[in-house]
């Protein structure tokens, strides 16, 4: 039984961070209607920023959160403004041009990282790396727990922003009915730019939080893009509440898979759930909760 709870706890802790990744993706999907296939690669960039800040300036990864998030916000703003929005003007044979562009951005970011940092595996070893504490017989990884608490705080701040500020409401309104939002005076182009920036900043926070736990290399982005995609589909496209549940579900599923099936099948369990959701619950958890 202890093993079960231990597995559950690890799953929830990592799931909280997955939720951050998923919420960024789902916001972008809601407002622009596109899948951002550069999502994990944006996280990789944030991880390198955190790595550099730690290695050269001895900045604690949790503090460099406040460096990586604004950096990625502006990177996201620039990507949307100069690379994605111009594509909306062009009349195209295939409407998914923006999605293809995100694939290109992903490749470029990965190769730039490889050019600068080479493919060597890097890690950040902090004083709390590998430390655990016990609560009721269950061990908690310190770094994971702190990361989870950050994730919860950021999620609360994000929801406050989306529900209580005019800008947040404008983002939700644009996702629900773009033309009506324009009639209400919402500058939809500006909203797409801010949303992409916000999505990038959220996944950046996940990157900074994960760096004490994960090895860093240029290709780390791709599996996280997949995870973000799975979470978004699990939660229901465009649903932020769904992304939280999607993130937790994926975290727990991977953790259970690692314990009961085998470490190397971890990723597979997540993807099997993904397939089951697509077959039996298209529309994701959003279909059940209606939010």
């Amino acid at each position: 039984m202890t093993v079960f709870f231990q597995t559950l706890v690890s799953g929830i802790l990592i799931g909280g961070i997955y939720a951050l990744i998923g919420m960024g993706m789902t916001l972008i999907m809601g407002v622009m209607g596109i899948i951002n296939l550069a999502h994990g690669q944006l996280m990789m960039v944030a991880m390198y920023i955190t790595f550099v800040a730690y290695t050269f300036f001895h900045l604690d990864p949790y503090l460099s959160l406040f460096v990586a998030m604004p950096c990625l916000f502006f990177l996201g703003v620039a990507i949307q403004k100069f690379l994605l929005n111009p594509l909306m003007e062009v009349e195209t044979i295939i409407p998914q041009n923006q999605v293809l562009m995100t694939v290109g951005i992903a490749i470029v970011l990965t190769e730039i990282a490889r050019f600068i940092f080479s493919s060597t595996y890097r890690s950040v070893t902090t004083s709390y790396t590998g430390k655990v504490f016990f609560l009721g017989g269950i061990s908690f990884n310190v770094a994971m727990t702190v990361a989870f608490l950050f994730a919860v705080t950021l999620t609360i701040v994000l929801f406050w922003f989306l529900l209580k500020t005019d800008l947040g409401r404008s983002i939700r309104a644009t996702a629900q009915d773009k033309e009506a939002a324009i009639l209400m005076g919402v500058n939809s182009r500006r909203i797409t730019i801010i949303t992409y920036g916000l999505g990038a900043a959220l996944v950046a926070s996940a990157g900074s939080l994960l760096i004490p736990i994960f090895y860093l290399f240029p290709d780390i982005g791709r599996p996280f893009t997949t995870k973000a995609f799975v979470i978004t589909i699990l939660g229901g496209m465009g649903s932020t509440v769904g992304a939280i549940f999607g993130g937790l579900t994926l975290g727990i599923a991977e953790s259970m898979g690692a314990t009961y099936i085998g470490m190397s099948y971890k990723e597979m369990v997540g993807l099997i759930i993904f397939l089951l959701v697509l077959i039996f619950l298209p529309g994701g958890l959003k279909r059940l909760t209606k939010v």
């Binding site: 409401r169 309104a173 009506a180 939002a181 324009i182 009639l183 209400m184 005076g185």
Partner: protein, 234 residues
């Protein structure tokens, strides 16, 4: 107040409005009536900047509306209550109303205006925290009208406000439009419901196949033989 002069509007290569001119004076209620596909909604969307005229001009007070980006038009005091209501379904009634008052002028008086709107539609106060996607059609239309009023408009444009409503609710919506007019707001209304619309408006324009065919006071149009035959079935 609003002066539309000789506009031509295209959807791609397809011309839908030909040389349309009309005007709305301050304090008036003006109706644009016509059959489905006559181009009524296109006119309102062009005023709101969602479509752009290929030729002609649209002036509001001393502004050239055809040169202003669509999201800035509401700032100048023009509210557009769109066809089919177009609410934000996953937002509450209150949030939808807030969305109507984003521009600084309206935001400053947001709470006051909301009280006024709740006064006009007491039903909405009861439903304040409900998601608009779960409301009945009539209630949704009230939210749509209320959301338009939240902008404190000088001119409010209604696109088919009676669409999909039961006759008793249609009568109620028309009553509300008259009340809005009494509050000093200028009204431009687009409707297929010809009789009721012409009864409440000061002046009306009849649109057929993208051209203005007739114009006159509401009474004149009601007594016009062509209107009687084509629209009122008398």
């Amino acid at each position: 107040m609003l002066k539309v002069e000789n506009i031509d509007v295209f959807y791609g290569d397809l011309q839908v409005l030909w040389d349309v001119s009309f005007e709305v004076k301050e304090g008036e209620t003006v109706a644009l009536v016509g059959a489905n596909g006559a181009g009524k909604s296109t006119i309102i969307k062009t005023i709101s900047g969602l479509n752009r005229p290929a030729n002609g001009s649209i002036r509001f007070l001393d502004l050239h509306l055809d040169k202003i980006p669509s999201h800035k038009i509401i700032e100048h005091g023009i509210a557009h209550v769109p066809e089919g209501r177009r609410l934000f379904p996953e937002m509450t009634v209150r949030e939808n109303l807030i969305m109507g008052s984003l521009c600084p002028r309206a935001k400053a008086k947001r709470d006051e205006t909301m009280e006024w709107v709740f006064g006009l539609f007491p039903r909405l106060r009861e439903r304040e925290k409900q998601l608009t996607g779960t409301l009945s059609g009539g209630e949704q239309q009230m939210v749509a009208v209320g959301r338009g009023l939240m902008a404190l408009p000088k001119l409010i444009m209604f696109d088919e406000p009676s669409l999909g409503l039961a006759p008793i609710l249609v009568a109620e919506i028309f009553k509300i439009i008259q009340r809005i007019r009494q509050e000093g707001v200028t009204v431009l209304i687009v409707e297929q419901n010809t009789k009721q619309t012409l009864e409440i408006c000061d002046r009306g324009y009849v649109l057929e196949n993208g051209r203005i065919l007739l114009s006159g006071t509401g009474q004149e149009l009601l007594n016009n033989d062509h209107i009687k035959q084509a629209y009122l079935g008398i």
